[in-house]
Amino acid sequence: MKKTIITMGLAATGLLALGGQAQASTLEDVRDAGQLRCGVSNGLPGFSQPDSDGNWAGLDVDTCRAVAAAVLGDADAVEFIPLTAAERFTALQSGEIDVLSRNTTWTTTRDASLGLNFTGTNYYDGQGFLVKEALGVDSAYDLDGAAVCTQAGTTTELNLADFFRANDMDYEAVVFDTSEGSAQGFDNNRCDILTSDTSQLAALRTQLSDPDSAVILPEVISKEPLGPVVRQGDDEWFNVVKWVLFGQINAEEYGVDSSNVEEMTDSNNPNVQRILGADGNMGEILGLDDDFMVEVISEVGNYGEMFNRNVGPDTPVGLSRGVNALWTDGGILYAPPFR
């Protein structure tokens, strides 16, 4: 009998501990773990996809690696956690991941009511339509009555409904839980059109059995700023993730890349000196080492390198910089200054 009472007491103490979970600092947690847990898409060429050896690559993956390089000094200290669109926010809210870098659109609802903070935009996108060339459709306004494959729980699904309603057209939404599922549905002719962000369409097109049989229609029906997301209520961590991306964009603007970063630490350009920690205490005020951007640039590269390596014109995805060019090159990429 005594044994039972002791066991029950122990169980109760354990539960008390469980009930009183303290709000911890994500930056400290990541340092203690020695690893960044990063939520990524479960397979989208150019953004996040594992190769045959299980190594993840892509623009969103590089964004995770850049944060790991800044915080831990090692771009490979990342555990990639593949998530479906429907799982991603719950995984971040519940603390299963430290940062979500999964082609996620920044919207009011998500920013304000889900307990999340968007740290910036690593790809400015817009929603488009992919259609089989054989159907002979050349405008999104000729799609009345079409069956449309899309992914569950995305802004895409809502924009689709808005677009067809606004133009007084009917459609049939065939909704899959993964982007591959929707691409497969399109490939199998379950639907006439595949809709998603145009960058994703370009990526998914490479996975079709005959990529040349499908074309992306010219209309872009929405704005989709995609970027990394963190939990609300941890400003220190929010700042770290935000400024790693800003740092990469600034580095491109000032010509700092992975091949010249060592020499550039001796640069006499004050902007470069501040970015690379040769002058000022930018790292310290963020809770990092002052030369954290040296680590990021040498291991992952600046924004332009990251873009060209994963989704640029020379990759299978083959996207042009477009609006994602720096503001100095006529694009809209404009990061606040390191100062």
Binding site: A12, L15, G19, A86, S113, T154, G181
Partner: protein
């Protein structure tokens, strides 16, 4: 060796030594412990969500959903609320589960009986069916029917054409849709009257057989009555039904009723998978009936089909019903695999899209769990009532 010097005291022991008092106290403690765990989990969740700035509550159910759903049994469009998407998903789940249970029972009984057939070929074919479908994961079977079988159908423009009124393509089966005009109620009334007569007739025939031993042909009569009376109503009212015939327009067929391929694939997979288990349950039930019963019935001169229907199956049901209930529950819960092929069931529409658009994970998961629990308990209750009705009555 010492003996206890204290004498045995008569009457009740001290409360802390009384096993009855102890058991009550510990049960109260256990319940209090469980309640406290539940409460602290709830509080912890609410506190954490508050501190992270996550909106809580059920207000989201009244907000505009804004997304399309491919199939709904109740009127739905994008301007309706998230509460409505819940009902659409629920209706679709109930539809596929209900049809699945009905079809799986029919197929399962046929295969289970065939498995015991004295015809070697029939028995082996049934065995092969059971072993194949029982041993392949359900999700693979769903993918197989969806992508390999239904996905291989031609597109709408090359659809399989049945007499220019029905079409089958990879967008589903399109059938003419009846449009009931004023006066069509007479047909409905005819159907109700025919059903009522059949029930009365069946009860009367059973009583008469019990009293006199004479058999009345209820089945043939009802087979004439049930289509006959509505048809009579149709003719009397001068044909108050017109048909909306589907026609190819633009991308797909317009008009008519469409059965989407997602429903077909899910239903096929659920039916064939569950039926293979039901077949084994039916077989074990029949085998459990002593062969003496069959021999006695045959000795009375009953034909083999009647032996099965009147002697063997009623006794086998006592063994069949309890495991059959859990197969029905499995089928209902397995229908949530719908999400893999995009059939808009409750999990896909509500726990997938709605959850993701609103972010109200805790509320939506709780509602969904409550729904599945309710459906499961309802099935259990009905099956237990039925089980009690067919159980061996000891007199």
């Amino acid at each position: 060796m010492t003996t206890d010097p204290r004498p045995l005291r008569p009457g009740r022991p001290k409360p802390w030594n009384d096993p009855r008092v102890r058991s009550v106290v510990f049960q109260i403690l256990a319940i209090a412990g469980v309640a406290w765990i539940g409460y602290s989990l709830f509080q912890n969740t609410v506190n954490n969500m508050e501190s992270r700035g996550i909106t809580t509550g059920f207000g989201f159910l009244n907000e505009t959903a804004g997304f399309g759903i491919i199939m709904s049994l109740i009127p739905y469009d994008e301007t309706m609320s998230y509460g409505r998407t819940f009902l659409v998903g629920l209706a679709n789940t109930l539809l596929v589960s209900g049809l699945g249970i009905l079809l799986a029972t029919i197929v399962g009984f046929i295969v289970g009986i065939a498995r015991l057939s004295s015809n070697w070929l029939v028995a082996k074919v049934a065995l092969g069916y059971i072993e194949i479908f029982r041993n392949i994961p359900l999700l693979l079977q769903i993918f197989f029917w969806y992508f390999a079988v239904l996905g291989a159908l031609p597109g709408p423009r090359q659809a399989v054409n049945v007499g220019d009124i029905a079409f089958m393509s990879n967008r589903g089966i399109v059938l003419p849709k009846p449009i009931f005009e004023p006066g069509a109620w007479v047909m409905g009334a005819g159907l109700l009257v025919a059903l009522a007569i059949t029930v009365v007739l069946a009860v009367w025939a059973r009583r008469r057989q019990a009293a006199t031993g004479r058999i009345f042909p209820v089945l043939p009569i009802s087979l004439v009555l049930i289509p006959g009376l509505p048809l009579l109503g149709y003719l009397l009212m001068g044909g108050p039904v017109s048909w909306d015939i589907p026609a190819l327009g633009g991308f797909n067929f317009r008009g008519g009723i469409t059965a989407i391929p997602e429903l077909g694939a899910l239903l096929l997979a659920l039916t064939l998978y569950t039926a293979s288990f039901i077949a084994e349950i039916v077989r074990s039930g029949i085998v459990s009936v002593s062969s003496g019963q069959t021999e006695a019935a045959l000795a009375l001169g009953l034909p083999a089909r009647r032996v099965l229907r009147l002697v063997v199956i009623p006794q086998a049901l006592r063994v069949i019903i309890p495991p059959l209930t859990s197969q029905y529950l499995n089928l209902t819960k397995n229908s949530s695999l719908a999400v893999a092929i995009g059939y808009p069931d409750l999990v896909n529409v509500f726990m997938g899209t709605t959850l993701n658009q609103t972010g109200q994970a805790v509320e939506i998961v709780a509602i969904t769990m409550a729904v599945y629990l309710t459906i499961s308990l309802a099935i259990s209750l009905l099956m237990n009532l039925y089980n009690r009705a067919v159980a061996l009555k000891e007199r």
